[in-house]
């Protein structure tokens, strides 16, 4: 078999507690963990998208969005640009630390966090002014469910980025791949959040 498993070798005299778990030689466990988590979250979003398409296509109401509701497509488009930009800044942060540029990493993480917070602020402001609630027809429910689910993921991503930024300013990260997993893993999660928003924006606001 191509993939190998690696078990840490400890001397018998030093053995304490259970043996160390096997791990793949092809992917580190932190990256594997975030990938498995993302796959599970894609399934959650899939369920909500299925509900959206059932309401829109199978139930097939006369008008969508139903009168008199309207969606602020331009504001959502601005939010999309902000979130896509934040993916570029987090990528810049990671490219910087891979090259040993700690200042670039800190700047990238700070910019990413600010762009993400701006996105969330605009989203909450949109909720306050949109003119309908989650109790207004099935349309209101699915709109708030889908965008709210995404907003919750953005909030979690901001928490991860906060930890990464604080650790970056404390000098915890280095250029070697295993020395900046604390930035790499939040970066992967943030890209997932961005890709998911692109799909939400396309299906809910545009199509």
């Amino acid at each position: 078999m191509e993939s190998a498993t690696v078990t840490a070798g400890h001397g018998h005299a030093e053995h304490h507690g259970p043996p160390e778990a096997n791990q793949s030689s092809r992917i580190d466990r932190q990256t594997l963990g975030i990938l498995l988590f993302i796959i599970s979250e894609v399934m959650v979003f899939g369920a909500f998208f299925a509900s959206y398409f059932f309401l829109r296509v199978v139930v097939n109401p006369a008008q969508w969005p139903p009168e008199p509701y309207e969606l602020p497509v331009a504001v959502a488009g601005l939010n999309t640009a902000i979130l896509v930009s934040s993916s570029f800044t987090v990528h810049y942060a990671l490219e910087s630390i891979r090259r040993g540029n700690r200042t670039g990493m800190k700047l990238g993480l700070l910019l990413t966090w600010m762009l993400g917070a701006t996105f969330l602020f605009i989203q909450i402001n949109e909720y306050a002014h949109i003119g309908f609630s989650g109790r207004d027809l099935a349309f209101g429910t699915i709109f708030y469910s889908l965008t709210g689910l995404h907003g919750a993921h953005v909030f979690v991503g901001l928490m991860l980025l906060s930890f990464a930024t604080i650790r970056a300013f404390r000098g915890h990260f280095g250029p070697a791949a295993e020395d900046h997993l604390g930035v790499e893993v939040p970066g992967i999660y943030w890209h997932f959040v961005d890709i998911m928003w692109l799909i939400v924006f396309l299906t809910v606001y545009v199509l």
Partner: protein, 62 residues
């Protein structure tokens, strides 16, 4: 297969480009055309993912 942030960022760019294209087509034509194209992209993505998985599995067994 490289599994790191750069590999995932590549997909942000690809999905972003596809979504931008679909938004432009939808605004220029109609929602139905956009939805059909979106469906086609989903099918193409599924086929690509299936073939990638088959290549990966074949490579692992050799």
């Amino acid at each position: 297969m490289k599994v790191n942030e750069a590999a995932v960022f590549k997909w942000v760019v690809i999905v972003g480009a596809v979504v931008a294209f679909l938004v432009a087509v939808t605004l220029l034509t109609s929602e139905l055309v956009g939805a059909i194209l979106f469906g086609l992209f989903l099918v193409a993505g599924g086929v690509y993912a299936y073939r990638w998985g088959r290549r990966k599995w074949r490579g692992s067994r050799d």
